[in-house]
């Protein structure tokens, strides 16, 4: 008897309700789909991961049902280029397929570009892109290797977003960084500094920041990031970056505190302050 071996046993999964299944075990194609090579450790995390996603307060609101119409996948820009489709994910979720969700989260979920076309067109009003967002959030929270891997090239982006509240800076346009932007971007990147200085708005004349929050805004923003748990998520994925940003936060906070105290005592000489607090 070819007993189904190393298979994740889910009582509600229709695949295990087939009466011949106990005797026959999975057919080769199923075997591939069942991810029977998932080791017990991973399986444990997979179940824990899926349980957390399901218990998220948004989950039941976002996942409503599925007509299997394929509108989400056919309108999906990412599905065109990757082995990825929103319908696939919704189906796994509807069927409670832990193993497939685990595979999807580790391999495919990062292909989504969050354009929300699927959510807009879904005839069942599923919030599909939102569900992808939830999966991603939990992938980061669980510090999954795929999340670490995918976020590694974005350290700089994360750094700017979390410290300056803005993701894109002009000097990111480098000749080799965005080949899909075409030859024009290469040309533009050469004199970015000059272009930037020519902008007659006071704040926009440097190329290393996108915009320029005040010191107080920056500190408040970072406080929000810490209090709302964004920094905690980051801690698991990228400890170095977390430490760095926390250092910056402490430093800015003490700077702000210092200026405040001086101002309260009436000792603050505003002409001594630099034009940009970044030069403090």
């Amino acid at each position: 008897m070819a007993q189904a071996k190393g298979i994740l046993q889910l009582p509600d999964d229709p695949r295990f309700l087939d009466m011949a299944y106990d005797v026959q075990g999975p057919v080769p194609e199923e075997e591939r789909n069942l991810l029977s090579n998932l080791n017990p450790q991973d399986r444990e995390i997979a179940i824990k991961f899926w349980e957390s996603v399901k218990s998220d307060f948004r989950f039941n609101e976002y996942l409503r049902g599925c007509l299997n119409c394929g509108v989400c996948t056919s309108g999906c820009p990412a599905a065109k280029f990757y082995d990825f489709g929103p319908r696939e994910m919704i189906q796994y979720m509807m069927r409670d397929e832990v193993d497939k969700i685990w595979e999807f989260t580790n391999k495919k979920v990062w292909a989504c570009v969050q354009c929300y076309t699927c959510s807009m067109r879904c005839p069942f009003n599923n919030e599909i892109a939102g569900l992808i967002m939830v999966l991603r959030e939990y992938a980061v929270k669980f510090a999954l290797p795929s999340a670490k891997e995918i976020l590694a090239p974005y350290r700089r982006v994360l750094y700017t977003v979390l410290t300056m509240g803005n993701q894109v800076t002009p000097d990111m346009i480098q000749p080799d960084s965005f080949p899909d932007w075409g030859p024009q971007a290469v040309e533009e990147s050469k004199n970015m500094d000059v272009y930037r200085k020519a902008i007659p708005v006071d704040l926009m004349q440097r190329t290393d920041i996108g915009w320029h929050p005040s010191l107080q805004t920056a500190v408040e923003m970072m406080t929000i990031m810490i209090e709302s748990g964004v920094m905690d998520s980051l801690k698991g994925v990228d400890k170095d970056l977390y430490d760095m940003i926390m250092d910056i936060y402490e430093e800015r906070k003490s700077q702000l505190e210092e200026i405040k105290q001086k101002w309260e005592k009436g000792e603050l000489d505003e002409s001594e302050l630099p034009d940009s607090w970044l030069d403090l």
């Binding site: 007509l67 119409c69 394929g70 996948t73 309108g75 065109k80 696939e88 067109r121 879904c122 005839p123």
Partner: protein, 365 residues
């Protein structure tokens, strides 16, 4: 009994059959019709063949129209019911014609049979209906078929045709979460008609479920495959693009295979647009003081037991005003409403049900 009078609103299949039956039973009928001809939507949009018997629509409608025309019914054409007032044993209704002239009629009962309207596919903006050439609705194709003018903008018959089901039905994005019931059968019928006229044409139907219910399964769904080799592809198209040479490029997913995207050019695309109550029937419902149910159709007193009685005493319902219906269903309901109205005006019988007052739990969208 003498002098009993019933007002029938709408002269589609339901209104005509109700009128005919009432006349046969010796009841006077006042018929109000918005258009300048009898026959309702099937006549207005010039339906070609009717499913599932594949016979010309005129074969079914013309006897009804003739029967009413020759029965001495007082008919108000190009008129609408403007107001209604309850009076001792009946109603006084004011009927307004096109020029704004108002006539009052005293009637004992009312049959509202003002029917449905086709969903306007322009509301599904991503389908580009009305913008991209060679995209039609099934309601447009019926006319093209009956006038024998099934051609693309190039003036030639289409060689590759795609039919997309469930446009404006089963779709929460436009607020219609119900199935319009007839579009599967109509589309399958049209696919066969197209193959009959253009035998070398390739016809694909994009579907989620084929609902050629009851006896239509083999008469339409099976027949279209056995005899006409119509192709069925499971998946809903998400958008259309204008292709070269006035072709239409569809974007869909073949949901029988995972993540299999389809980008296919066609000469002609047909949208199987569903049914809605429409503005005409909404006006009728508002004037008569009828309640609407959760899908926007008019609510019957009891959908199972008393489907042709409205929630207001003395007013009866027939046809697609209470939900998507086939022509034969509408004719049947016309007969039923006529019978109920006859009982009411001659003997005052009005069945009661508290169903409409009960709160019904439906899936919230």
């Amino acid at each position: 009994m003498a002098g009993e009078k019933v007002l029938v609103i709408g002269s589609g299949p339901a209104g005509l059959s109700a009128t005919k039956e009432l006349r046969n039973m010796g009841v006077d009928v006042v018929l109000v019709e918005r258009e300048s001809y009898l026959g309702g939507t099937p006549k207005k949009l010039k339906y070609s063949l009717l499913f599932p018997e594949l016979r010309p629509a005129s074969e079914v409608l013309d006897p009804l129209i003739k029967g009413v025309e020759n029965s001495g019914v007082k008919t108000y054409m190009e008129s609408i019911v403007e107001g209604i007032k309850e009076e001792d044993k009946g109603f006084t209704v004011s009927i307004k014609d096109k020029s704004g002239k108002i006539v009052n009629e005293k009637v004992n009962a009312v049959i509202a049979a003002s029917g449905f309207e086709h969903f306007d596919s322009r509301r599904k903006y991503e389908y580009g209906y009305g913008i991209i050439p060679n995209i039609y609705q099934i309601s447009d194709i019926e006319r093209m078929l009956s006038e024998n003018k099934l051609v693309t903008t190039k003036g030639t018959p289409p060689k590759r045709v795609a039919i997309l089901l469930c446009v404006g039905s089963r779709d929460a994005t436009v607020g219609n979460t119900y199935c319009s019931r007839v579009c599967c059968a109509v589309s399958t019928k049209q696919a066969m008609e197209i193959k009959e006229r253009v035998p070398d044409a390739v016809v694909h139907i994009y579907y989620m479920d084929i609902r050629t219910y009851g006896l239509m399964e083999d008469k339409l769904y099976w027949k279209s495959q056995l005899e006409y080799r119509v192709g069925y592809i499971r998946g809903r198209i998400s958008e259309f693009m204008r292709g070269p040479n006035d072709t239409v490029i569809i974007k869909g997913e073949d949901t029988m295979n995972l993540n299999r995207a389809l980008v296919v050019p066609y000469d002609m695309v047909i949208l199987a647009n569903g049914m809605e109550l429409g503005l005409g029937s909404k006006q009728v419902a508002k004037t008569l003081g009828l309640e609407l149910e959760e899908h926007g159709f008019v609510k019957p007193l009891d959908p199972d037991r008393l489907p042709v009685q409205s929630t207001r005493k003395g007013i009866f319902l027939a046809g697609a005003i209470t939900g998507p219906k086939t022509i034969s269903d509408s004719i049947t309901e016309g007969y039923a409403a006529a019978m109920k109205a006859y009982e009411y005006v001659t003997r005052g019988i009005w069945d009661e049900s508290d169903f409409a007052k009960k709160r019904i739990e439906v899936t919230h969208h």
